[in-house]
């Protein structure tokens, strides 16, 4: 079968350098994708596993949904349990709140680093790009297991996760996170060690990724400023510059353009109740961010191998397999916000929190391969200095945990942000046991199937128009688009 023939169908998979298993079915005509169907191929049923468990058991189970977003799952469950506790919950001590944010940021920034160096950039070392001027540099830096910068990033990441070894015992599957705060007090000398590990990562980022101080990257406030910065040095001075160089050459901003709307739950809840990165809803063409209405979130299972076809809010949703369902092609439901297809991720967080460069780039070119990756790198530069501030705010000797007794009857929602976007948990406690649990993960949104109205999900829309070269069976453009979302398939279905 040659892809250059009209009206061919390509079944692409397995994908790797995504978390979990993924299959994409493409209809290809005249060298471009006409339509796409995304299949999350694995189902484990965490929402039913949790039924009848003690509410705090969720904190053992939910991190194990995902080996790469494990802290994110714990944090979402923690906020859902706190919400269910209502007035029973004593205020979380500032130390506990900072410790939770430090653990979440440690995971999220590590995921951005892993995505860039191990998952996304290796595709630019492929032979198809051999004629390009930047190819030799990409190969030297990003070739899987061999590239110098990929190896250095893996080493930097290993050191970085010592933060979680100290703050949370281990990673992944860290159980020091709970509705009362953190179970792991930090003493004076540990705080200093944590600070020095953050500084080590700063050194790596400023030397290898950015070739610039973090603050210089975080404060880039327009596309003109970025252009000027890019051209102020040789095209491969630092890996961000090399990315900008190849993104410009390959016009990555025209690849994987999604439907354009994006939202965030807000990230890194502070002791004063505000988020470091406020959430909201971004509509294409709009200059303003509107508030998120979580009650407008629904999921429908029309095209999933799951029972039901009515859009339901996750507080009412359910998850029961129906492997023979007609018209179904994935285990993933279709989440929608007021019926609208949404994209989520670092780019949504940077839009909603008002980072001016990302806003300008998205206003001009939309949500695409280029802006998704750019937003992640900008976020690395913005959040790491905040971690230093949170560490400096820790007060050894003051409490880390306060009682948060859970009621025998109650319900709660926990809205947080994983590296790859908005993550929500909805639970209900009856007779002291979990009676209901629903999870909507970032890639549930980004890689959703068609909904009851027939609207394709964000990736399904972003793939339309992707070029398919003659004789390509696993199109490289499709791989760039898929990986630009940093998908986590084990979270998607859970």
């Amino acid at each position: 079968m040659s892809a250059a023939e009209p009206n061919t169908r390509l079944l692409v998979g397995p994908f790797n350098r995504v978390e979990g298993d993924l299959e994409v079915l493409l209809d290809v005509r005249e060298g471009a994708v006409q339509s796409a169907r995304v299949n999350a191929t694995m189902y484990r049923g965490f929402e039913t596993l949790l039924q009848g468990k003690a509410p705090m058991d969720a904190l053992v189970y939910v991190p194990r949904i995902c080996g790469i977003c494990s802290v994110s799952q714990s944090v979402a469950a923690t906020y859902a349990l706190r919400d269910a506790a209502g007035p029973l919950a004593e205020p979380m001590p500032a130390n506990g709140q900072h410790a939770l944010n430090l653990m979440l940021a440690c995971e999220n920034l590590a995921d951005h680093l892993t995505h860039f160096y191990l998952f996304f950039m290796p595709d630019f070392t492929r032979e198809v790009y051999a004629p390009r001027a930047w190819h030799a540099a990409a190969q030297a830096r990003f070739a899987p297991l061999q590239g110098l910068h990929a190896r250095q990033a893996t080493a930097a990441r290993q050191r970085w996760f010592q933060l979680l070894g100290t703050l949370g015992g281990k990673w992944p599957h860290t159980q020091s996170i709970g509705p009362g705060g953190s179970a792991r007090p930090i003493d004076l000398s540990e705080r200093l060690r944590l600070l020095s590990w953050v500084h080590e990562m700063r050194q790596f980022l400023e030397t290898t990724l950015f070739a610039a101080p973090l603050e210089a990257i975080a404060s880039l406030d327009s596309e003109a400023a970025l252009q000027q910065w890019w051209q102020a040095d040789v095209p491969d001075a630092g890996d961000l510059r090399l990315f900008l160089t190849l993104a410009h050459d390959l016009q990555l901003e025209r690849l994987g353009v999604g439907p354009g709307a994006a939202f965030s739950h807000g990230a890194y809840l502070q002791p004063d109740g505000a988020h470091l990165l406020p959430g909201g809803v971004w509509q294409p063409g709009s200059q303003a961010v509107s508030p998120l209405q979580p009650q407008a979130i629904t999921e429908d299972a029309t095209h999933a191998w799951l029972q039901g076809s009515q859009p339901l809010h996750p507080a009412q949703g359910h998850t029961q397999p129906d492997a023979d369902k007609a018209g179904a092609y994935t285990w993933n439901k279709a989440p929608r916000l007021a019926g609208q297809v949404m994209e989520t991720g670092a780019v949504a967080r940077q839009l909603c929190s008002g980072q001016p460069l990302v806003r300008e780039a998205v206003q001009r070119s939309g949500l695409n391969v280029y802006t998704r990756v750019l937003a992640r790198l900008i976020e690395l530069a913005r959040v790491l200095p905040e971690m230093t501030r949170w560490l400096q705010a820790l007060q050894p000797g003051q409490p880390w945990h306060a009682p948060c007794p859970l009621p025998d009857e109650g319900e709660g929602a926990g809205l947080s942000e994983a590296a790859r976007g908005a993550l929500g948990h909805w639970l209900r406690i009856e007779q002291g046991q979990l009676a209901h649990y629903q999870i909507v993960a970032p890639t549930s949104w980004n890689f959703s199937p068609r909904d009851a109205q027939g609207q394709p999900g964000a990736l399904e829309q972003a793939l339309v128009g992707a070029p398919v070269l003659p004789a390509e069976d696993t199109p490289v453009a499709v791989q760039h688009i898929v990986r630009s979302f940093d998908p986590c398939m084990v979270c998607t279905v859970h």
Binding site: L11, M42, R44, K170, S176, P396, D473
Partner: protein, 346 residues
């Protein structure tokens, strides 16, 4: 297909099924400044790994076909995640992308041509968390279903190994949730170098170099344990066995002598050992964070300790608890420091 020559790297294929991918993420946290150099130095050649390899789609399917058909040698098949047999034995809860075939069929076909098979993590070993609750996906391990021998590949299946000897191998269970990167690297490296033998596995197929230890060994809370000075709430410094569900005195692993992510472990992180290297740990029959007791005595007593002795020792040590240990046990920092003494003879 030519046999493996002495000193030639071990051809390793790593596939993921019913799990979270966390054992791979844990492997990336291996304590080395250059993971690739470590893998090479141990004599490991990754044919394909889901997080680390370039090849996608058709290139992977070609590799799998080459291995199944014997055109390429497969020394070690590493499976991460449980085998999902449902619904109704069809395996459709995980179809390997791009193949239209259940992952369980791929595992079966590849296990037939592999010289050795390793279960990486507790899901692949026993079913693990993927087999939690009432196990809606019919998840099982490669050669166990919880603690029952059998699993997907069958109790009696054996593999020839990569050495020129007559030893026959069961599935090697590198159990843990996640598994420790050191357990994986030491196991794979020892296999590549011919330094591991079937008798180096315990009765559950786990490498004894870590499974003959207990999590309790080297626990930083050991003085609190000695006096049964117990933590009552998260962030307390005391021993978590009496109230908070800790199973470190029963769980086989070296987590407190081979720390995680630098200097960590579950107990150092302020939470109970949930015995994640043991079959069936996911359904303990009680809340994870509470110690089940009968007449005030924990049901799960330290391994190899007669109950009467434990009760006698515990009541004696509780009555002898120093004031310092008693007060610090329920605090989140040292409230009573140790007395300063001359430690010499004068």
């Amino acid at each position: 297909m030519s046999p493996r020559r002495p000193g030639e790297p071990l051809n390793v294929l790593w596939l993921q099924s019913g799990g979270c991918g966390g054992c791979s993420m844990s492997l990336l946290c291996a304590d080395t400044p250059d993971l690739n150099a470590t893998l090479q130095g141990l004599g490991l050649n990754l044919l394909w790994h889901p997080s680390l390899s370039l090849a996608s789609g058709q290139a992977v399917l070609t590799l799998l076909d080459d291995l199944v058909d014997g055109r390429q040698r497969l020394d070690l098949l590493c499976i991460e995640g449980a085998v999902l047999r449902g619904p109704h034995g069809s395996g459709r809860f995980h179809m390997l992308a791009g193949t239209g075939l259940p992952m369980m069929s791929w595992i079966e076909r590849l296990a037939k041509v592999a010289k050795l098979v390793a279960a990486v993590g507790s899901c692949a070993a026993w079913g693990g968390v993927s087999a939690g609750g009432d196990n809606p996906t019919e998840a099982c391990g490669l050669q166990y279903e919880d603690h029952h021998p059998g699993g997907w590949l069958g109790e009696h299946a054996r593999w020839p190994g990569v050495q020129a000897d007559a030893e026959r191998w069961p599935v090697i269970n590198i159990a843990g949730c996640p598994t420790h990167p050191g357990w994986v690297l030491d196991t794979l490296g020892a296999l590549a170098q011919g330094a591991l033998h079937p008798h180096d596995l315990d009765a559950l197929g786990r490498p004894r170099f870590y499974a003959d230890q207990l999590v309790h060994h080297g626990c930083s809370r050991n003085e609190y344990y000695e006096f049964k000075a117990s933590a009552e709430a998260p962030s307390d410094q005391g021993c978590m066995m009496e109230h908070l569900g800790c199973k470190g005195t029963q769980a086989h692993a070296d987590c407190n002598t081979r720390p995680w992510n630098g200097q960590g472990s579950c107990t150092r992180g302020g939470y109970a050992c949930i015995s994640c290297t043991e079959p069936g740990f996911q359904n303990p029959g009680h809340a994870f964070d509470r110690t089940p007791k009968v007449a005030g005595i924990p049901i799960g007593l330290p391994t190899d300790m007669p109950k009467a002795w434990f009760v006698a020792l515990a009541s004696l040590s509780k009555s002898a608890t120093p004031r310092r240990v008693k007060h610090n046990a329920t605090a989140d920092h040292i409230v009573v420091p140790p007395a300063i003494r001359k430690t010499g003879l004068k």
